[in-house]
Amino acid sequence: MAAVFSPRANVIATVCMIGVAGFIAGGCIWWFAWPRSDYVRRVGWTIQQPVPFSHQHHVSGLGIDCRFCHSSVEHSAQASLPPTFTCMTCHSQIWTNADMLSAVRNSLTSNTPLVWARVTDVPDYVYFNHSIHVAKGVGCESCHGNVAAMPLTYKAKTLTMRFCLDCHRDPGLQLRPVASIYDTDWHRNRTTPSAAELMRQYHVGARNLTECSICHR
């Protein structure tokens, strides 16, 4: 009686087993890792805007504070994008003939708002409120990165649920003194109050910040 398996069967079996293992591993990567990758999360991607606005020039170069344009950040859920009126506070007098700013001038004369593209977005089932984060000592940089170093604005952090929870589980080290909230390149130093002291100052910690309804409501 001839052998049931020919010598080739060894190779075929090995290839099949490797294939199945690869398929499972690939499937896991495709299912779990790929959607969470920086590529899919658009981290570091600049976005086409109606005007090529440079945060680097306005924040680093001129020293303009975040609140000058995002003026509702302390009072509202939205930090808000500036109306054309805010741009014209300065650009009614300087760079009045610049080609780059023609869209801003058109917006003013035609009384239609500039439509900026959103750079940092969270899913619609997430409730995010800027004012409470700013009031409790979370700096802009913690989620938006060092905006002052961005010639064109891009999303700096993945903003996955893990990103939010890492801080909600242990907020202390992400908190900073009031004077440094809008500092775009802040680092803890010897004079910075300890994490526990900042938690006490801002009255953070009494509530469980990982409850579902904190973010999903």
């Binding site: 170069g61 001129l62 020293g63 303009i64 504070d65 975040c66 609140r67 000058f68 003026s71 009072h75 109306p83 009126f85 805010t86 014209m88 506070t89 300065c90 009614s92 007098q93 300087i94 899913p123 619609d124 089932y125 009031v178 004077a179 809008y182």
Partner: protein, 164 residues
């Protein structure tokens, strides 16, 4: 056979339901138009902007708030010292008068508040950007800036004079 096919179809449909990750959800904004708004505004109601905002009590907290707001909104042109040579002025914006100008030293707080609210000359108004309490805080801080540049040793308390 038909039962199993129907069962398979149902299972596929249920699975397909999971494909919507709900990151984009259309929401109705009831205030978007007067037709969907919950109620019409009575005539007696004035806009927050037009209501009276009396000056708050002068406290250290108010001055610190004023310093922070002055830095954010005023210092690009007026500079941190109020001398009118802020960074935007250095880049070509017409220079404003220094805050220690005699007219401004004697101006009433209400006048400074009104200029902040409505603007003056080429300065735009900041009513939309700075809340009324914060505008008063800036006025208080401007007064402190003015005082700081005309302070004499005699105007300090003995404790302050004794400080190194």
């Amino acid at each position: 056979m038909n039962v199993s096919a129907a069962g398979l179809l149902l299972a596929v449909l249920l699975l397909a339901g999971g494909c919507d990750d709900m990151t984009q959800q259309k929401k109705e904004n009831p205030y978007a138009s007067s037709e969907t708004a919950p109620a019409t505004v009575p005539d007696s109601v004035v806009e927050f902007q037009d209501s009276d905002h009396p000056p708050p009590a002068l406290t250290l907290t108010l001055l610190q708030r004023g310093q922070s707001e002055f830095h954010a909104f005023c210092s690009p042109c007026h500079a941190e010292t109020g001398n009118g040579h802020g960074m935007v002025v250095q880049r070509g914006f017409p220079a404003p008068e220094p805050l220690t100008d005699p007219d401004l030293m004697t101006a009433s707080p209400r006048h400074l508040y009104d200029v902040l609210t409505d603007g003056k000359g080429i300065m735009y108004g900041f009513a939309q950007r700075i809340s009324p309490e914060d505008r008063w805080a800036i006025v208080a801080y401007m007064r402190a800036l003015q005082l700081s540049q005309h302070a004499t040793l005699a105007s300090l308390t003995p404790e302050q004079q004794a400080m190194p």
